[in-house]
Amino acid sequence: MHLKRLEIHGFKSFADRIDLIFKPGITAIVGPNGSGKSNIADSLRWVMGESNLRNIRGTKYDDVIFSGSDDRKPLGMADVTLVLDNTDQTLPLDYAEVAVTRRVYRSGESEFLINRAPVRLKDIQELFFDTGLGKEAYSVISQGKIDAILSVRPEDRRSIFEEAA
């Protein structure tokens, strides 16, 4: 299973839609301070069902919606779609390709889709959890957080190991 495509529109600094194509192997993302690199990592966490806003540096739910700039008005919705190659059936779904979409509106309403079928946030979270990308999983290491793997208390560290077991 691997990532194929990430489509981001209205999420944080992505006022204009961007599309990232991923291949197997190593994809590097570079650019100046504040240009949006970590926002791409945040959008990945968010579309995979992140429910703790602090893990994507937010405090209110609408922090993830483009809030405007000098020349642009705020947008009314954030929309992220992640497309995965599932030919090895790692995800427990009968599709060779799986598209997961998460949307949130300024009103507070949210939408969740798996291959265009409406689902709940919970369904998205369980989908990824079953592939080993759960809460404590090491699939996303945020900026400044690599050292935290060591500073975690021995007891907390244990829960990470238990999850791996």
Binding site: P24, T27, A28, S35, G68, D147, F161, E162
Partner: protein, 155 residues
């Protein structure tokens, strides 16, 4: 349950010891149960001894040494419980040039089995990428994406 935890713990421990030695070109490390008689409740201690140095508390290691030790542990977990993909945001920030090289060698090996998306400022890490994206904000506040050509030399 207890058996499965101990099996997994031992696997991660073995990989961690091996990966630490690779990343540090020597030295030794270990993972230990704080209380071996109570494996299901005991905390897990990390021991790390860079080459030529004495074993001391993890807190005394340098910023770069701590990052390399954390990378060894992260990759040990990835080897035992593989994730299909892994997103790394500037984990090479505190590494000197030599350590960036060692880190990227490991990244290349692991990238045969899992997909990596790495955010980086470091040339050494960019050089092992198969695909390179540039992120800019020409229009202030708006992120724009550019696909960058990699001048890959024959490897």
């Amino acid at each position: 349950i207890k058996k499965r935890f101990i099996v997994t713990f031992e696997q991660i421990r073995k990989e961690f010891i091996d990966l630490f030695e690779q990343l540090f070109s020597g030295g030794k490390a270990d993972l230990q149960l704080a209380d071996p008689d109570l494996p299901l409740e005991s905390g897990i201690e990390i021991l790390a001894q860079p080459p030529g140095k004495r074993l001391q508390n993890l807190s005394l290691l340098s910023g770069g040494e701590r990052a390399m030790t954390a990378i060894a542990l992260l990759f040990a977990i990835l080897r035992v419980k593989p994730s299909p993909f892994c997103i790394l945001d500037e984990i090479d920030a505190t590494l000197d040039e030599t350590n960036v090289q060692r880190f990227t060698e490991l990244l290349k090996i692991f990238s045969k089995e899992l997909q990596f998306i790495v955010i980086t400022h470091r040339r050494g890490t960019m050089e092992v990428a198969d695909v390179l994206y540039g992120v800019t904000m020409e229009e202030k506040g708006i992120t724009k994406l550019i696909s960058l050509e990699l001048k890959k030399q024959a490897s």
